[in-house]
Symmetry: C2
Subunit: 291 residues, 2 copies
């Protein structure tokens, strides 16, 4: 396996741009190449100085890389794997930062040569803001990064990638892609669906009376529709099950309200309040949240 | 109708305490009496100096009032109206700050004497924080306050109350109680149900992986279960309809995901994104939100 001397980040949006500039800052001896499809993004990336070099040729950008990080919308991954497969240096590591992991593993298995090492990554960082202009080198600090591996994944590659994300400020956890997609459907993908439903169920006229609570609740809905459509559509089974679970909870509450069952309404609200309280204390303890 | 020389705030939680201290600050010539049921709340209220006088006798506390503001959980209103009805001075105004308005109007009509003027109030302020210790005199600033009135409501009482809330920093709007309860079910009460469902559908184990997005999305779930149970149970019809609308939206998205209909998934996400964008710009323009 090769030493880390060159990293190529493919896709320079909020996350790709932030990873690129964080790597530049924290790994002084490493050359960081940023590839972007759009000329306007490349111009902006140059202005911002977020990489050692900005590339316009995808295949060339990875031909000397020791680590390649895909940071485009998920549905572009398969095509990119196909396009770079035969120019990837033997012994290099390929990863991606997509929010679903089962399909990227499939695509990597299918298209990447046996001489390169694929590991999935999912840094739990970002915001509803989009694009390179919001990129910042501390975006990943105090965030979790999940690595996804299978029985076949090379151990040295896992260790190297673990060290890479740690250097960028992440706490790294490792799990199987299927486990990842189930958990993150519950706590990230399905919530995006729920928040969109909450807004779409309301008229623009009624929304004018919304308070700060509603605005905070629906922040996720300002995320990029094309990025999130890709996430939902590459995690179909878990997300539709997740939606069913939410509907079941809503029906439970509806029944309690209809029956004027105050005890049960309070119990459901209290269960949620308590769980959120435990969650926040856990996050503060783990230093993943400022108290 | 009487001039405003004495105000009594019944219930000194986050909202009652904040109203009391804001009135004390902004209406220097007015005596503000705060009533709280619990000795510990009264002690704290005295320490914090949030009223001219802290009262422990409910009937006495209103017997000289020109304006009485109920700031307890909604389900206590009817009992309080009954208890104070015969000691309220003729010509005084009675209001409440409950998040539903149809039932408070019914209870006022039923129990208050014809010599006092009832108008409903709903200041859209507060947070998931509970209790007097979070009270602050600027909580109401830059918030909307809805007044609810019927064909019978006295015009002078509306004007007086409008002036009162304006003085505390609110933008006042007036509507019918039924209209109020429908709108706020959509943008406030039902969202509380949705957020509770979002948490309750998840295990504590999965929640440990939640990111900042999930934590922000579910902030409302940390609100007081007994206050919100009262809200939901005094707005049964609208809330159950609101839950049905959310379920219909969730089913729409589920269908699109199942069918791998990327266009439709993106359309639903984009509709939500756009509506939230319009909402935020509207709020910034109206100075109800800092940009």
């Amino acid at each position: 396996m090769k030493d880390l001397r060159q990293i190529t980040v493919i896709g320079l949006g909020l996350l790709g741009g932030s990873i690129s500039s964080a790597a530049l800052l924290r790994l002084r001896s490493v050359k960081v190449i940023g590839y972007a499809h759009r000329p306007s993004t490349r111009r902006r990336a140059k202005q911002l100085g977020i990489a050692s070099e900005i590339a316009s040729d995808l295949r060339k950008s990875v031909s000397q890389a020791d680590l390649v990080i895909l940071a485009t919308p998920i549905c572009a991954f398969e095509e990119i794997f196909r396009e770079i497969a035969d120019v990837l240096p033997g012994g290099s590591i390929v990863t991606d930062v997509g929010s679903t992991k089962v399909l990227p593993h499939h695509w990597a298995e299918r298209w990447l040569p046996k001489t390169v090492y694929y590991v999935g990554s999912h840094p739990i960082a970002g915001s509803e803001q989009r694009g390179i202009k919001y990129a910042r080198d501390n975006l990943l600090q105090q965030s979790i990064c999940i690595l996804t591996t299978t029985a076949k994944t090379n151990l040295q590659a896992i260790q190297k990638l673990r060290r890479f994300w740690s250097t960028l400020g992440c706490t790294v956890r490792v799990m199987r892609p299927a486990e990842h997609d189930k958990i993150f459907s519950n706590i990230s993908h399905t919530p995006h669906v729920v928040v969109a439903a909450l807004i779409n169920a309301n008229s623009e006229e009624d929304l004018k009376y919304a308070g700060k609570g509603f605005i905070d609740t629906t922040r996720l809905a300002s995320g990029s529709p094309n990025i999130w459509a890709d996430v939902l559509l590459t995690n179909t089974n878990n997300t539709t099950k997740g939606i069913d679970k939410i509907i079941a909870e809503l029906e439970k509450m509806k029944k309690a309200i209809k029956n004027q069952d105050k005890k049960q309404v309070e119990n459901l609200l209290e269960a949620a309040r308590r769980k959120r309280h435990i969650l926040i204390n856990y996050k503060i303890k783990k230093k993943e949240l400022i108290s």
